[in-house]
């Protein structure tokens, strides 16, 4: 290949060189991108959020809440280890409400006197069905799956459901005998 310095400086590269060189550059660029992608993927794999190990009876497991008749109508019972409240509505239906405020995640205590959940952080208020009745929260409290078998209430804290508002179909009812 007759390559002189003058040739490189003053003239365009020979016509047959250009596609090969650009192809090699293209390969280098592609390899670089592949390395970058691998690095990003690797960092992502290290950072990926982990599932909590579920301990028996703790949060994430199915929790045996007790027999149906223990919960009077219109009552709310706290299950601190399961991080939920079991609410029994006036019509006898059960709801397992997450204790996390849907606004920014504070823990909402149940106000027995007024019959509402009142968030201490930003003053959101929820009723017994979990509906947001005072801003800034806009969404009802999350639900956990409730199953009633043989008049025993079980709450699956591994199955959380987001919702915007209460609907009658969300409550679980004991089988009529």
């Amino acid at each position: 290949m007759p390559h002189t310095v003058e040739n490189r400086i003053n003239h365009d590269p020979p016509a047959e060189e250009a596609p090969r060189r650009s192809f090699l550059n293209w390969i280098w660029g592609g390899l670089g991108l592949a390395v970058l992608a691998e690095m990003v993927w690797l960092a992502g794999a290290f950072l990926r959020p982990r599932r909590r190990a579920v301990r028996g009876g703790g949060f994430g497991a199915v929790i045996d809440a007790g027999p149906v008749e223990r919960f009077t109508r219109g009552s709310v019972t706290a299950f601190p280890r399961g991080r939920f409240y079991l609410a029994r509505l006036e019509d006898g239906g059960f709801l397992a409400l997450s204790r996390e405020c849907t606004h920014l995640g504070c823990t909402v205590p149940w106000d027995e006197k007024e019959g509402v959940f009142r968030c201490p952080c930003h003053a959101s208020v929820f009723d017994i069905r979990g509906d947001a009745i005072h801003a800034p929260a806009t969404r009802a409290l999350d639900l956990f799956q409730v199953d009633i078998e043989n008049d025993t209430v079980r709450v699956d804290t591994g199955r959380r459901r987001r919702r915007s508002a209460f609907q009658a179909s969300q409550a679980a009812y004991p089988a009529r005998t």
């Binding site: 950072l47 599932r51 995640g105 504070c106 823990t107 201490p120 800034p136």
Partner: protein, 434 residues
């Protein structure tokens, strides 16, 4: 020995000579150098703290208690780190305002403005990740509500929240992640970005040359620059170095005084079952927290921050009619319009907070009006008033218009921040802090 140090070390960071006029305290207020000193102080105290700290939910709080009670000067070093971090946020914000208002962001400093924004982000990142580490009630719930805000980012918000928390809730993974970011990533970012930042300052020939407002003779039509200011140069050693050392001494003394006088807060150990009342975000996020109380969450934590970031990053890239670099607030009329904009911005924010506070508790419909219609109305009213008076009295340069918009927004945000940090009490109700 000292000669060698001077020749090969100091002058590696500083030029041999600097324009004498840039040494004036009224140009830079020493803020950039002060920020650098504070970062170094944070690295020093942080390294010591890292020796004593245990990054697990079980051990973190106890290790802090041990540090305070039993390690010699442990309390002082922790206080220094705490107050240094908080002062750093204040100092870099003031530095940003200084650079903005002396017009020190025009070419060839445009890229450096963006690097500076990167440094501001790093400062906020380091403060925020450090906030969680004591694992007390304050830390746990402030980080809960701050990361809770992410959920409102449409689309990838919930995923982002999970990644930042390292799982569905704040726990061991979150602490590990925050510790790693705080003690490895943040120092690396500081080292790289600060080096880049200082190098760009030198490439631009040092600080912007200060000029008096009367020196402005530029022609807005042709873009012809004003006559060159005095550029007499003096040796950097001792003229620049002595001033920098003095500023560093003042800064360190201030942090030391604060650290001796006021202890860094440490509340009870974190309890995920009990949210304290009130639960507040750290003060530098209090403006967003306040905004969150007034508008739809997506607006407060996504639309406004994204637009503000884009606007800040774009600041040096507008097509300006003039380069008034070195003149505080562009010109004499620029000073008047900036003052008016600051007062209007603060007034608008106060009006909005007060009226929304009243209307939102009145009914849902009035609440909707006061969180959407009212701020738009206020903005329109102040914009119209500004346009009217600006058009008549201003220099007519678009620089001044951009400055007015920036000052208005900054003053409004400052009022929101103070309101959120100081005037919000139990249940986030408005009230006096005393």
């Amino acid at each position: 020995m000292t000669l060698r140090l001077r020749k090969y070390f100091l002058l590696h960071f500083r030029p041999k000579t600097v324009p004498e006029s840039t040494l004036a305290l009224t140009l830079s207020w020493g803020l950039g150098g002060l920020a650098a000193v504070l970062v170094l102080l944070q690295m020093g105290t942080g390294l010591l703290l890292k020796f004593a700290y245990e990054p697990t939910p079980q051990g973190a709080y106890a290790s802090i208690q041990y540090l305070i009670a039993d390690v010699p000067f442990g309390r002082l070093v922790r206080n220094l780190h705490h107050w240094g971090a908080n002062l750093l946020v204040g100092v870099v914000v003031l530095h940003l305002l200084r650079v903005c208002f002396t017009g020190a962001f025009h070419a060839p400093r445009r890229l450096n403005w963006v690097i500076g924004l990167g440094l501001l982000t790093t400062v906020l990142l380091s403060n925020f990740t450090g906030y969680l580490l004591p694992w007390d009630q304050l830390a746990y719930w402030a980080v809960t509500v701050s990361t809770g805000m992410l959920e409102y980012i449409p689309g990838f918000g919930p995923v982002m929240q999970q990644w930042i928390r390292g799982g569905p809730e704040i726990g061991a993974m979150t602490l590990r992640l925050f510790f790693a970011v705080h003690t490895a990533l943040v120092p690396l970012l500081f080292a790289v970005l600060m080096g880049f930042h200082f190098w760009r300052v030198r490439r631009a020939g040092g600080l912007v040359i200060p000029r008096k407002a009367d020196e402005w003779r530029g022609d807005p039509e042709s873009g012809e620059p004003a006559p060159g200011p005095a550029r007499e140069r003096v040796p950097a050693v001792p003229h620049l170095i002595v001033r920098e050392a003095a500023m560093a001494a003042v800064g360190v003394a201030a942090v030391l005084l604060l650290a001796v006088a006021v202890d860094a807060p440490l509340e009870g150990p974190a309890n995920p079952g009990l949210s304290p009342n009130p639960t507040k975000a750290p003060w530098y996020f209090a403006g967003f927290q306040e905004l969150l109380l007034h508008v739809h969450p997506t607006v407060a934590v996504f639309i406004v921050p994204v637009m503000a970031t884009l606007a800040l990053a774009a600041l040096p890239f507008w097509r300006y009619q003039a380069d008034p670099g070195g003149i505080w607030f562009i010109s004499r009329s620029g000073r008047r319009s900036a003052l008016a904009a600051a007062l209007s911005g603060a007034l608008a924010a106060i009006l909005w907070i007060a009226v929304d506070h009243g209307l939102a508790s009145y009914s849902a419909a009035t609440g909707r009006f006061s969180s959407v219609g009212l701020p738009l109305l206020l903005l329109a009213a102040f914009a119209a008033a500004g346009w009217g008076s600006f058009g008549k009295r201003g220099t007519g340069l678009n620089n001044e218009g951009v400055q007015v918009a920036f000052v208005f927004a900054a003053a409004g945000f400052a009022v929101m921040t103070v309101t959120g940090a100081v005037f919000r009490g139990e249940g986030m109700a408005l009230g006096w802090p005393w």
